[in-house]
């Protein structure tokens, strides 16, 4: 049966167009439409219901950090309390089961998982931990993202102290009479926060943010925002057929873990040393044509050299944008490519990611 988040009624009230996404009925857009929602997030503050995502709490004292390091390729020992890191759950071939954010919390860790993967992830992680620890995939908690340059001001009005958080750090805060956990993080290329809150307070929380000037933003704009920010979407840009090195996400593998053991560590080390055959790059078509997932990529001399994994129109860059995998020899910046869209070969070139870099408003630079 299709699931609903605690904000379902609020979505309805705001005239959301609802679609099924990863087993949940989720808002793809509201009445302003994707482009307006996208631009509002870049200029002001958007609210995203991301409660479909998994919030996995793992509690345990001795050895938990060590046991989790046997699963994730990051230096968890160095993670401060309430600090977050981006990582992966991988198989023995370094292929990606899921990408995730792991945060050190009191007496354990919080891992944010993709909605479509969360049940499988739980099983895999539980299994790898030999059932030694207390694992809770919480469905009594909602997850709400507040994104955009005004997010810190709007949230600070109701949650005092939150604007002092550093990026990729979190903490416990008070909202009304309850505790909420907030991290300064997001998926839009903007400053922002992700708020974990009890289901029965989620609507009240969102209403307060709305009355302070933010707006509801759907999954459609979430996708164009993350595309402009050059961020991967699991299932499109990374999946069980790609490794983090192929996905050009080497930065997420902690340096001092490269020589140590975790699932896929041998492959990761080999790929770092001797390179990869295919690699993820940013691609800009030279006209307005959109090259969607599975579009074939050709070289200047008409060889098929790869596939697009995500493509859309970037409202803030005002251009068609895409990312995909090409044979490594074609991955240099500005390499000329052709994209086969509806039988026509559209000229394009390899470009830097992200497509959109944040322009901080004047005055804020010196603060």
């Amino acid at each position: 049966m299709i699931k609903k988040t605690s904000l379902y009624n609020l979505h309805k009230k705001h005239n959301a167009r609802l679609v099924e996404f990863a087993g949940y009925e989720m808002p793809i857009q509201y009445k302003d439409g994707i482009i307006q929602e996208h631009k509002f997030t870049r200029s002001n503050c958007g609210i995203f219901d991301v409660s479909h995502m998994g919030q996995l709490f793992i509690y345990g004292k001795e050895n938990l950090t060590k046991d989790l390091e046997n699963i994730f390729p990051i230096d968890l020992k160095k993670l401060n309390l309430n600090q977050s890191k981006y990582s992966f759950l991988m198989d023995e071939n370094a292929c990606i089961y899921d990408d995730l954010i792991i945060t050190k919390i009191l007496e354990g860790y919080l891992i944010i998982l993709n909605a479509a993967c969360k049940e499988d992830d739980l099983r895999i992680i539980k299994n790898k931990l030999n059932n030694k620890y207390d694992l809770q995939l919480k469905d009594d908690l909602s997850l709400i993202a507040l994104q955009g340059p005004e997010a810190k001001n709007i949230l600070e009005k109701k949650v005092e102290g939150v604007s002092k958080l550093k990026f990729m750090n979190g903490g416990n805060f008070k909202f009304s009479d309850i505790n909420i956990f907030i991290t300064r993080s997001g998926y839009t290329g903007e400053d922002g926060f992700e708020i974990s809150i009890k289901n029965n307070y989620a609507e009240k929380f969102v209403e307060e943010m709305l009355s302070n000037g933010s707006k509801m933003i759907g999954l459609g704009a979430r996708d164009t925002l993350r595309m402009e920010a050059g961020l991967c979407l699991y299932g499109n840009d990374i999946d069980k057929n790609t490794t983090p090195i192929e996905a050009n996400l080497k930065w997420a593998i902690s340096k001092n873990r490269i020589d140590t053991d975790y699932p896929g560590s041998k492959i990761i080390k080999k790929q770092i040393q001797s390179g990869v055959e295919k690699i993820r790059v940013g691609i800009k078509p030279e006209n307005r044509v959109i090259a969607r997932g599975n579009t074939k990529i050709f070289s200047n001399d008409d060889k098929e050299i790869g596939k697009i994994t995500s493509g859309t129109f970037g409202p803030s860059v005002d251009h068609s944008i895409a990312m995909g995998y090409v044979n490594n020899q074609y991955s240099n910046l500005n390499t000329k490519l052709f994209l086969e869209v509806r039988g026509k070969k559209i000229p394009a070139h390899v470009c830097n990611l992200p497509f959109y870099k944040k322009n901080y408003v004047k005055g804020e630079i010196n603060v």
Partner: protein, 126 residues
């Protein structure tokens, strides 16, 4: 508005003698969302009733544009190619797609009038 007819593929057609101006309906644009790309048929080409005669893409997906009748393309609206947002702004006016020299007027009989289309659009979106 009696000279405007509609297809089940959500195109509108406005008659002026043996020339038909064709575009997509407001209902279609509402279903598509923000349109960010438009492709039109070649001027001088001939198109067959219910055949593909263009493409529109929204931020979400690509959709074919069909021609409700057969004919020769005598003009295309390049302003919507340059600024596809015009299609959302004024789909049944300024943002027409192409003009056809009609091949067979009898094909017009297969199309709906406004009332019929409105009813059809309402039912098909439920």
């Amino acid at each position: 508005m009696s000279d405007v007819k509609y297809s089940k593929e959500h195109e509108w057609l406005k008659l002026d003698g043996d020339i038909a101006t064709i575009g997509i309906t407001k209902h279609a644009t509402e279903m598509l969302g923000d349109i960010v790309f438009a492709e039109l048929p070649e001027k001088g080409s001939t198109v067959e009733k219910d055949g593909t005669a263009g493409v529109v893409e929204s931020t979400k997906a690509a959709s074919d544009v069909y021609t409700p009748i057969s004919g020769e393309v005598i003009d295309t609206n390049q302003s919507i190619v340059e600024d596809p947002s015009k299609i959302n702004a004024d789909p049944e006016g300024e943002a027409w797609f192409f003009k056809l020299k009609i091949k067979d007027v009898k094909e017009l009989d297969t199309l709906m009038n406004k009332d019929e289309y409105d009813k059809f659009a309402k039912e098909s979106s439920q």
